[in-house]
Amino acid sequence: MVNRSVMAAIRGPIVLITLGVLFAIDNAAGISFGKTWPVLLIVLGILHLFRRAGASQP
């Protein structure tokens, strides 16, 4: 129960970190955010999967 709410709560910060990492890569390595943004979708999808996995457990 506790873990599930923790899971839900850290979704936002994880997306935030991903965003930061993508922009940092844009600035430092020159791979533009215009190209790497789908990573955000992937991360959102993975987080969603985890949530559903957590919810389907009794």
């Binding site: 709410s5 923790v6 850290i10 979704r11 936002g12 970190i17």
Partner: protein, 428 residues
Amino acid sequence: MRRASLFAPLLLIALGALFLARNLYPDLPLTDYVARYWPYILILWGVLRIAEILYWASSSKPIPAHGVSGGEWFLVVFLCLIGIGVHAAHYTARGWFERIPWASVQVIGERFDYPVNAEKAASKAPHIVIEDFRGDLQITGSDTDAVKVTGRKSVRAMDQDGAENADKNSGFEVTGDPGQITVRLHEGSGVSGRISSSLEVTVPKGASVEAKRRDGDLHISNVEGNVTVSGRAADLDVRDVGGAVSVEGTYTGDILLKNVAKSLRFKSQRTDFTTAGVPGEIHIDPSDFNADGLTGPVRLSSRSRDVHVQNFRNALEVDLERGDLDLQPGQVPLSRIQATVRSGDVRLALPESAAFSLKATTRNGDISNGLGAGFKVDSEGRRHTLQGSSGAGPEISLELERGDIFVTRGSPKTPARETAHPLETINQ
């Protein structure tokens, strides 16, 4: 119930520290730091929030349903927009952010102008040092044996009395002996930062010049000694120099370097360039690097700029992170050319009669081979290599991470910049 987060106060403290640093050390390239490192704020924020949530969980305090609230997402978007804006302003349309007169924002009052007139006898080939002050400056060599400073000094003050006082407390000093002369603004107490100037300095033709600058335009022409420029300026124009030229610093406007007899070195935050001489001219603006007429060996590395180099002699080495590269050697015989580009297209136009061996590789892109027989393209997935040789000549090597390669003989498909340079007509 929402727990109080640490991030907001930390952000406030960081902002305060940033502005304080800006006021105390105006020379620190803070906008550069912000432009480069702002994404780490997001990462830090996320990490901090996770740590907080884990701490709340472990101490059995209530956990918010959303780790990052709606209002905070709004702040995130805002931060991203500012970050992208500063980054773009700094690296592509560099200029507007630096041009905001941060110093004058806190200075209210009126501007009062005072004429400047100073002169000092000099030797035939003196070393002239221009020390740090604000404003436009023009240094010209001529047949004279004195250093002469004319122009105006602007004082910002609340009223006439204040201005008179500031004028009395400050002045341009021309000091030193005939062999070494220093021009500097002497600022008395309480007038610091309120004085700018527009000066013309006439120096003996044989002089060498060293200018340490802050803001304003800088023009140097017609001197036979070495020229060293450092600091910060808007536009920079250096031409007709008999010695070596060294430029280092931050420039928010256009740079023109023309007719330099000896070596030239240009170093800014994004670009490092050396060449053995410039019979033609080099024009650098925030997005482009254009050189026409260089005596090599030439070496150029840049973070992000479109680079056009034509009519160069001797070896050329280019290392480009982001931007297109356009090379037209112009003269035969060729020398070694070596170019590495991480992201951008490369256009190479070789003279009809040139002898050379070529190896051009792109890991992710296409190759257009305009060289004909003797050259062939090997492909392996997205990776292409163009290889071959024409006669016995120097090695040309192009290496691209991502981008297309166009190699032609004679005049290129896409016309290069229209520059009226005598060398250009020779290779047509």
